[in-house]
Symmetry: C2
Subunit: 345 residues, 2 copies
């Protein structure tokens, strides 16, 4: 343990500035109702002493923490293959920092951890939570709700039951999927297949729905279920080639899957995009740009998504905003996507 010099207290600052604790407190917290002359003297004392408020003492009385929990309930796979997660965190971090809030990160590991997270959130250590829980059967949303703590979800949660007052920020997965498939159709392709993502996640379901919106009466054999992984993409593509060797386009539920599909197509002697055009989803840069050929894909602004989630939550927490909100509660947001054309379609 490093011995830290005893940090100056409000008391010390007050003594130095020749005022009372209350006045120093007022100045430190915005300084309303303190005459400028005095305030100036206090600020000077604060600087000289290097005073930093003790957050614990402050929280004890205000019952606020200026801290937000970010709960990530991904069992390895997805989050850690993508830089996804990092991007969202960055967006969140930016927004929180701008409002002097801290980011407490909770990563969960299997079921047991849910209890721990629930306890933590219910324990009132943070003012709110941003939750990433993309699986349909996830207990987290209920847990959060029963913890009685304000929360915003990343991605549309889809649990059975009351959805009132549930805030989330999602990407327009369905619309993005439609754009992708329409793009393929616009290229003159008619036998457009879809390799789905893991269908226990709303994003995968929505992308599939988007595909169906355009391909209203597609051959069901053109739809192959997969799991968002490259290996899954390979398997699905093989299956697809067996079912419909005449397939001339593939819309994969994400870039990783598309990369797997691309490899199988190459193996099978198909040229991309000449014989089969391929579109992915996510625009994971190190992947989408590195594939052979580079991948046409649907981009989503992940960082913005994080930023928005944080903003929504902070607004929810701010009593001032709560007043303004009368008659217009803050609502969930769905972000647009854009098609990024590269060589694969």
């Amino acid at each position: 343990m490093t011995d830290t010099a005893p940090r100056p207290t409000l008391e010390a600052v007050a003594a130095r500035a020749g005022v009372s604790r209350a006045t120093v407190s007022r100045v430190v917290n915005g300084g309303d109702g303190v005459r400028e002359r005095l305030a100036e003297r206090v600020r000077k004392a604060v600087d000289e002493l290097g005073y930093v408020p003790n957050q614990a003492a402050r929280s004890l009385v205000t019952r606020r923490h200026d801290a937000i929990a970010v709960v990530v309930a991904e069992p390895e796979a997805r989050v850690f293959a993508d830089p996804f997660f990092a991007r969202q965190l960055r967006g969140i971090s930016k927004e929180l920092t701008a409002h002097d809030n801290q980011l407490v990160l909770l990563l969960t590991e299997g079921r047991d951890d849910h209890a721990r997270v629930g306890r933590y959130l219910a324990g009132g250590h943070v003012d709110g939570a941003l939750v990433f829980s993309l699986h349909l059967d996830d207990p987290l949303p209920k847990l959060i709700r029963s913890a009685g703590i304000p929360a915003v979800f990343g991605g549309r949660p889809d649990w059975n039951g009351d959805q009132r007052g549930v805030l989330y920020v999602d990407v327009d997965n369905r619309g993005g999927a439609r754009d992708a498939v329409r793009h393929l159709a616009g290229l003159g392709r008619s036998r457009i297949a879809h390799i789905t993502g893991a269908l226990d996640q709303t994003s995968a379901v929505d992308r599939l729905d988007g595909y169906r919106d355009v391909m209203v009466d597609a051959d069901p054999r053109l739809i192959v279920e997969s799991d968002f992984t490259p290996a899954g993409g390979e398997r699905a593509m093989r299956e697809l080639l067996a079912r419909r060797p005449d397939v001339d386009a593939v819309f994969a539920a994400n870039d990783l899957t598309a990369a797997g599909a691309l490899r199988v197509l190459r193996e099978s002697g198909r040229r991309v995009p000449d014989d089969v055009a391929v579109v992915g989803f996510d625009d994971i840069l190190p992947v989408a740009e590195q594939t052979e050929p580079p991948l046409t894909t649907v981009r989503q602004d992940i960082e913005e998504m994080g930023r928005l989630m944080a903003r929504l939550l902070l607004r929810e927490l701010d009593p001032r905003a709560a007043e303004e909100r009368v008659g217009g509660t803050p609502s969930s947001v769905v972000l647009p996507t854009t098609l990024v054309r590269r060589a694969s379609a």
Copy 2:
């Protein structure tokens, strides 16, 4: 704001169990020196009331927070292209969770943020810090030191000045590089080139040193400086082909760079590995497995690195451990690497 029911206090539990506050506190914190009969009664009361200790009140008196900061000082690029960061976080999170510590994440954005981070750390909101700051000129290490807060660095820091007592966990970059180059030599290659990483990071410097260890008197033209990015890898590879068209192997400082190099080699009509063998570094799965051909590379156990960093810091913070430590201060760790053979070399 959600109205949270007033949470029960120690006082309430004490009343219910018919004991004093002090006794409840003892039970809650391990229960030494309390007769089992009483302790049992207290635990029952805790359960019934759903009591959760107020961390703020506790911190106020103990001056401990059971929270550590993770500071990531990466200007975008590296961290967010790799799943690197996510893996490390996971390792850290696991270890911290196991010891009931919270993880406060601080991402920095340019210079201004350093001051903010410094203030935060000096403010005594956390017990220690894990710092990722891979750039030679980074002010963070000094800042941390002057904040007087225990810290462990991820990657060997390299600032001028006193290094005593500086703890870090690093990967054996130099050894891994040696292995990579020896592997290429073992394949019968003699004109082995190296595309470096950004040389303002110790990892890049160490990898270059490892290359030099084996290629003691290599043609300097075989060494091309780059920056860890795919685009940089492409540029470097072009330069290399211009300088030494007879190059028969490339050791790239990381997988992203290798992927860029691979693309240029393909363009130029070289076959990999027949004409030119390529080895990367990091084993970033979604990249290394997706390249054409799949990349032989040097793997580092990133998650373990995070775990170790946390363990080191926690030990540093634990007064008990401090006693045991007499005569043997905890020291930095360098993790081994392993060569992963795929198709590119």
